[in-house]
């Protein structure tokens, strides 16, 4: 079978979509926080690592299946994100955006090193009884856990979109994102909405961690592998745009997959940054960005 046969290419695209959906879920949280708070959350990668450890511990200590752990952990991480924003990031940054950057960077360092202290740096994995269950698509076998990852990511993104468009709190989030002062004048508690948004972004990470861990591993530096790509997706999709992050994630996944297949895994990463540069040059506001 040649590497360029349609079958192989189709499978590579499918691989890309499945990986990209998880990238998208990580990026959705990041872009949401950017869109509303107008800050780059440097702690996003560290929080993802924390979430992966939480899923790992839920499985190893409580015997909880990662998919079952997703919902309670999402609630827990929503609370964590809410608390971080409300009682640590806001007070510590004294209303200055550049301080917020530094506070989130500091949080990242603290979380990462705390995990290093507690768990040492060895890599842990969990082996689930259904880890090698596959679906036979004729042209290829696809691991069940990867399909669940794809569907789960899309469902969470859809739920988030519904929340933002159909609920009062969601409307308040969008109002604050568009015009903070105006929203405050309408009686919206801006600090509360900020914290809710940060909580939502963090909750996305908990779900992403649960979907990711059956096919990945966890160690105190693992979040780094995803956060750079998530930043790229956020810029590509349009900073602050949830649909942009979703499509950007899928696009990056497919580009990475095809690039890896055709140019080799080492050079395949080139494609991602090539697209990134092209978007910055010709559509600096991103694919779905409203304005520059």
């Amino acid at each position: 079978m040649s590497l360029l046969s349609p079958e192989i290419l189709l499978v590579a695209v499918l691989n890309g979509v499945m990986v990209g959906a998880l990238y998208a879920l990580v990026a959705v949280g990041l872009t949401l926080i950017y869109g509303v708070l107008h800050i780059i959350n440097f702690a996003h990668g560290a929080l993802l690592t924390l979430a992966l450890f939480a899923v790992y511990l839920a499985h190893s200590q409580l015997g909880l299946d990662p998919y079952l752990a997703a919902a309670p952990l999402a609630v827990l991480f929503f609370g964590l994100g809410y608390a971080l924003q409300r009682w640590i990031i806001t007070p510590a940054s004294h209303g200055e955006d550049r301080n917020i950057l530094l506070v989130t960077l500091g949080l990242a360092i603290i979380i990462q090193n705390l995990l290093l202290y507690l768990f040492r740096s060895d890599t842990r994995t969990i082996d689930l009884p259904y880890a090698s269950d596959v679906v036979d698509l004729q042209i290829t076998f696809v691991a069940m856990s990867r399909l669940i990852g794809l569907v789960g990511s899309l469902v969470v993104a859809a739920l988030l979109w519904l929340f933002l468009t159909r609920t009062d709190t969601g409307r308040a989030v969008r109002a604050v994102a568009k015009e903070r002062m105006g929203a405050a004048l309408q009686g919206i508690d801006v600090d509360h909405i900020y914290a809710v948004t940060f909580g939502l972004g963090t909750a996305c990470l908990a779900v992403a961690a649960a979907l990711l861990i059956p096919n990945f591993y966890v160690n105190p530096r693992v979040g780094e592998a995803f956060v750079l790509i998530a930043f790229t997706i956020v810029v590509l999709g349009g900073m602050g745009s949830v649909p942009g992050a979703l499509l950007g994630g899928l696009l990056i996944g497919v580009v990475e997959s095809l690039g890896g297949l055709l140019l080799g895994e080492s050079l395949g990463q080139l494609g991602i940054f090539l697209i990134f540069i092209l978007v910055l040059m010709f559509r600096p506001q991103g694919l779905f960005g409203a304005k520059a």
Binding site: N15, L261, E265
Partner: protein
């Protein structure tokens, strides 16, 4: 100033410690005659990217020091006990050299460890300036022993020894099965280690009648191996040779199981996870039958088994870092015993002339040439029934190789 203890003032503390300092300076010979402890530098990266390996290495060194002291210390030096001076190399060459400076200040007689090749290179060079004997625990790079440093020794196998034996053993395994396997695919990480390995394999195997279908490099870390496995499925090689670190090895092995890619053999050389007890425990299915050519103990030696039991009873995995460091400390103790002195120059001579035996490694007679132990060799292990077994060479084997893998 608040007094912490009654009668303990700043002045009285200064006075007594100053007196004590003068006393030790004045009477070094006297103290040594009483069997003063011999300071041994143990250098390991226990923070940073390599911290897991560093932690494991430290375990091995500690076990050896404990054992030597419990057996009465260094007898030719009046039963002097070994005392560990620990240094954290922080996973960087700089971190390593800084700790060598500090250890020199503390008066160590020798330094054991380093783990990574780059740390070993830098630290042994720093140690050479003070004539401190340096025993490399793991770092396999050939350059470590190629610089003509008189203080630097590697008891375990270097890269050339490992690659040469790795290829020879693969060919021997295949021939003993009637040479059924012909095609090879190499999956390697794209830095110095993996690329060097891929080149060595590409140089050696085609001349021996093997066809290399493709050589796939990948970055570290990589997030997904499904495309690599897709290529493996498309080309369907008989043998997969992975050459990468633990995380990537795990992802590759899992993706292969999920995509039902079943080569007739998985044979790695210095595989990142292939002979790791953690991998075997966490992924029994993916690890089953995987073959690795790597540092390993002489599984037939009861003392090796005893050490394994001891390490595992502490809740730790028995990895190559543990027994490599353990063996190096014993090698050092043997040299100290023969030198009968903590003099660094005499110690270097004693190590260079070492014929250290009765150790737990599957090695021939110890003989150092340019700092490299000529008796060192890797062995071939295979995961069988959740255990890491030695399958080659015959004299050290405790199981028969399953080669080629049976069809599923």
């Amino acid at each position: 100033m608040t007094k912490v203890l009654p009668g303990l003032t700043r002045r009285s503390v200064l006075k007594t410690t100053a007196l004590g300092g003068v006393a030790t300076l004045a009477l070094p010979g006297y103290l040594r005659a009483q069997g003063a402890p011999i300071k041994v530098g143990i250098l390991q990266p226990v923070t940073g990217a390599l911290s897991y390996s560093g932690q494991q290495g430290r375990l091995g060194a500690e076990a050896a020091i404990q054992e030597i002291n419990a057996a009465g210390g260094i007898k030719s030096m009046g039963g002097a006990k070994l005392e560990m001076v620990f240094g954290d190399a922080r996973s960087t060459p700089d971190g390593g050299t800084q700790e060598v400076e500090r250890m020199n200040g503390e008066g160590v007689v020798a330094i054991v460890g380093g783990f990574g090749s780059s740390i070993c290179l830098a630290a042994s060079q720093a140690a050479a300036r003070y004539d401190i004997p340096y025993l490399v625990d793991v770092g396999v790079a050939e350059t470590i022993t190629a610089r003509g440093l008189k203080n630097t020794f590697r008891f375990t196998a270097g890269l050339n020894q490992v690659v040469e034996k790795g290829i020879a053993n693969l060919i021997a395994l295949n021939e003993s099965a009637g040479s059924p396997l012909k095609t090879v695919m190499i999956v390697h990480e794209d830095s110095l280690f993996g690329s060097g390995m891929a080149k060595a394999l590409n140089d050696a195997l085609p001349g021996k009648g093997y066809q290399i279908l493709s050589t796939i490099p990948h970055p570290t870390p990589i997030r997904d191996f499904n495309n690599v496995v897709l290529q493996i499925r498309a080309q369907n090689p008989d043998i997969i040779i992975p050459s990468n670190y633990y995380n990537e090895y795990v992802l590759l092995a899992r993706a292969m199981v999920q995509q039902r890619a079943r080569p007739k053999a998985i044979y790695s050389i210095l595989g990142g996870a292939a002979s790791s007890p953690r991998f075997v425990k966490e992924f029994p299915d993916a690890a089953n039958l995987v073959i690795d050519c790597n540092h390993w103990i002489n599984a037939k030696n009861p003392r090796a088994e005893a050490l394994k039991t001891k390490i595992e009873s502490g809740g730790n995995f028995f990895t190559y870092e543990v027994f490599n460091n353990y063996s190096n400390v014993l090698l050092l103790a043997d040299a100290l015993e023969r030198a009968g002195s903590a003099d660094r120059g005499k110690l270097i001579e004693a190590i260079a002339a070492s014929t250290f035996e009765g150790h737990i490694m599957p090695y021939g007679p110890t003989k150092f040439v340019n700092g490299q132990n000529q008796g060192a060799q890797p062995v071939v292990t295979q995961v069988q029934g959740g255990e890491i077994k030695v399958v080659r060479p015959e004299e050290f084997a405790n199981a028969k190789a399953v080669f080629p893998f049976p069809p599923a």
